[in-house]
Symmetry: C2
Subunit: 521 residues, 2 copies
């Protein structure tokens, strides 16, 4: 596929006129070809209008047709996998082999959502039959199902340039729900974004769907994102990225004359608690395993375990040694963008300013945008004294917190803001402390993991990638896993309808064979 | 029960010190005894802290214990029913017999939510078992369930002083979810509010639950409501009332450092479309039925059908006559409050200023706060020319829209903002037009009704009392019906847990017998 640099908006390739940009190869810190055109309000308006025009037809596709569409997207992502991974590697500094795995997972996700669509449970079809004999008043027939919320704006993230970007779970789940999509490409990987967008758009055309089902926009600075969030035809927004960026979009959407749902997944330090018996039995292995996970994707991951907490005692030194050894031997590796690289260095300074000691560093950088691994340590009192120590540093850094006793561990646990995940390493003999920690973690996280590191994430039915603020802007939803589709659905009740006028899933003879709740059972 | 005028906050009766108020009897426009003390930030803070302290224990009650608690509340509401209805009648001008029915329904709602809790489907327990042999990487065991979101602030509404107030569906569904509740009483019925709050609080004590499970606050103006929405320990808000009031709370909550979910149910004109064959066959009966429903509760209902639309043709005059006759014979009846009475008069003036003709009026008022029924008419062109005509007038007024042809009917349908409900009156021969209207109504409403009036609402599994903005602030939820509980729940995933540490609903042998989704099926 030759990159055109144009914006795929509906069936057209638009040469946008708000300037051009080139991708940066972060490994060399040099720009690479070709030029990508930048759009503005006009392109956003065009994409939103097409998405709105396509909505009625697309949201009423049959479950079978929609599932087939998602599967063909998966197939087409597989077809471009090598090219996509190669270009993404150039644009992100991440290894092509890793990106091939990421692309395969992205395709799998579309297939999983196809299965979700085919099964039809997401419709939550619910029937309360008429009760003509009921006293004092008969009950009319009531039926309910979920329908798509409307055209959705999705913001691609930078750190997983495929599975949290154009072909990511947000796109898959929104299309599965029956929503049309306007995707705002991340400027850190414009070429990879174009490859994915054209792969999806090709399937829209092959399936004979209205052109507005999927469009991609891109622009300089925040103008395009703001125009998208403001657009009256856009009915929901999803975003993965920084707390600052996410909250700016969130608050902007809430200032609209008609506020719309915005799901932003923002920041998490994924605290890892090592309970005393586990510490004494296998502190070194836990330290090593923690560091290994922490370094994945050069620490540029929402699920990076960033803070490791343990009570001083037998095994603590082994824990610290396991951690230190792995981090000391970590090569410096290319970070995603100059901004992220700069913010990482600032973040390390913030940890020191907050009173944490830099106790180990990885290998020295050899290129401009290399990120050097780092391990910090602070005691529980110091940690509780400065809340900036519990804030995320995006990159290959970790903070070891040496806690005085179990009471201080509980106090530290209570000090965390909302998190995507938390982990406990425990032996059976730690059960009593685990039971004390559990309700504290439940109130603060979307996922709790025992004896493993929160990363990597499964994409399945019970997966939750969410959590209380500031992990996300709405703890009632998830952006990963099959229930990610719930963000894009709203219920409609049909009362007293003639059978032929009902949506198929609600008709008396259940022609789609979807699971249904009848009278609550 | 002797009214004390104090605030039931936890186990205490607080004599709040921010002044006092008396209830107004709107039928006489005179104040009635006793004094009710008014609170401020201090009382809100006390109630929120108690709700937070009670949360861990209450949210972890067994399903059986929580269901029993809800049923005992229902029993206690039944025990105070006559007294409650009598006091509410004095404070609202609504008939005591109607309020007894409302109180009985409120109790029934608690029993229905007890059944929801006992069945446990609301937990959405989901299990993805371990796959140790999976390639390239084994899958860990993942389990998910919904848990309570935290302490909730609920704003009582004025128009249904029992079932949308202290003992309403918001309270029942929040308690069912496992949330603790701080209720902000509406000042239009302080005595009824006290009776309900003390009835609930008594059951909290009898069941040995922590005192902070339920508290009630009250204050002058907006200070108490604002303090509640701002309070850092409050994790969700629900409100039923005006668009102005609802949006002020919504926007305030979104400005918090940590935004929280706010569900506001605000405004709806519940448009009713009479399709041509139904019009010609039974226009008069439809006009009569519409007017009857419109007048329920002196038109002070969120589901009041306010706008009736039909294409000029056979049956139109009969429709207008049916409507006019019923409205002309309607007695003037007491409205809820001086503010509502004043806003109703202003609303009638707004309809005239917008170009609608006042074609019929009900009987003349005989008391200060009597609301006089009124019927207005405008043609489709006039309706489309002034968007204020599609805004709600809270009270016993209706607008008949005479539309030129089917195309104009479609254009009018598309002009509506979000609605709680819409209705179509149709014969089989109207099916083609109904199919054109349906997707337009689906995008704009939470409930669509055929050949009946949207009011009254069923409270069941398929019930939806929600809809796109401005009907509510989040179309993905409902405030009435069993899925109202979803507003107060968030998912948590448990990964790699030892069985004994899992929540009961997720343990391997399913000791609670709740429905579970295993591997998506």
């Amino acid at each position: 596929m030759t990159l055109t640099g144009m914006l795929p908006i509906g069936a057209a390739d638009i040469a946008a006129t708000e300037g051009t940009m080139k991708a940066l190869n972060p490994a060399t810190n040099r720009e690479i070809e070709p030029d990508f055109t930048l759009g503005g309000r006009a392109e956003v308006d065009l994409a939103a209008r097409l998405a709105d025009e396509a909505f009625d037809a697309y949201s009423h596709t049959t479950l079978a047709a929609r599932a087939a569409f998602l599967e063909r997207i998966a197939d087409n992502l597989d077809a471009v996998r090598a090219e996509l991974a190669g270009r993404a590697a150039l644009e992100t500094g991440l290894p092509a082999a890793q990106l091939e795995v990421e692309a395969a997972k992205a395709a799998t996700q579309f297939r999983q959502f196809a299965e979700v669509v085919r099964r039809g449970r997401f419709l939550q079809a619910t029937i309360d039959p008429a009760q003509p004999e009921r006293q004092p008043r008969p009950r009319m027939d009531h039926r309910m199902q979920k329908i798509a919320i409307g055209p959705v704006a999705i913001f691609g993230a930078s750190n997983f340039p495929i599975s949290y970007s154009v072909a990511g779970g947000d796109t898959a789940s929104a299309l599965a729900a029956g929503c049309t999509v306007v995707l705002k490409a991340h400027n850190a990987h414009p070429g990879a974004s174009e490859i994915m967008a054209r792969a999806i758009r090709k399937v829209v055309q092959e399936c004979g769907l209205p052109q507005g089902v999927f469009s991609m926009v891109r622009g300089a600075g925040n103008a395009v994102g703001e125009a998208l969030v403001d657009h009256p035809l856009i009915k929901a927004v999803t975003f993965t990225g920084s707390e600052g960026g996410g909250m700016a979009l969130y608050r902007r959407a809430q200032r609209r004359p008609d506020p719309i749902p915005v799901f932003t997944e923002m920041t998490s330090v994924n605290p890892t608690f090592v309970l005393p018996h586990a510490l004494s039995v296998r502190g070194g292995a836990i330290g090593d395993g923690f560091a290994e996970r922490m370094l994945v994707n050069v620490g540029q991951a929402c699920l990076k375990p960033a803070i490791l907490l343990a009570v001083e005692g037998p095994g603590f030194d082994a824990l610290r040694e396991g951690l230190s050894a792995r981090i000391a031997s970590a090569p410096a590796r290319t970070m995603l963008t100059p901004d992220i690289h700069g913010a990482y260095r600032t973040g390390l300074e913030r940890l020191e300013a907050g009173g944490a000691a830099r106790i180990t560093e990885g290998a020295s950088p050899s290129a401009d945008l290399d990120g050097r691994a780092a391990l910090f340590e602070v005691d529980g009192t110091g940690f509780l004294a400065d809340s900036t120590l519990s804030e995320e540093v995006f990159g290959p850094a970790a903070l070891l917190v040496k806690v005085r006793d179990e009471e201080e561990l509980i106090a530290v646990a209570k000090s965390f803001r909302g998190q995507l995940s938390a982990a406990m390493h425990m032996e059976d003999a730690d059960a009593a402390l685990a039971r004390r920690l559990l309700p504290i973690l439940e109130r603060r996280t979307g996922r709790i993991v025992v004896n493993a590191f929160a990363h990597p994430q499964e994409v399945s039915h019970a997966s939750i990638h969410g959590g209380p603020f500031p992990a996300t802007s709405d703890s009632r939803f998830t952006s990963v896993g099959m229930s990610a589709i719930d963000r894009f659905l709203r219920p409609v009740s049909y009362q007293g309808f003639p059978d032929a006028l009902l949506p198929e899933a609600l008709r008396q003879d259940n022609p789609l064979g979807v699971p249904r709740i009848v009278d609550g059972a």
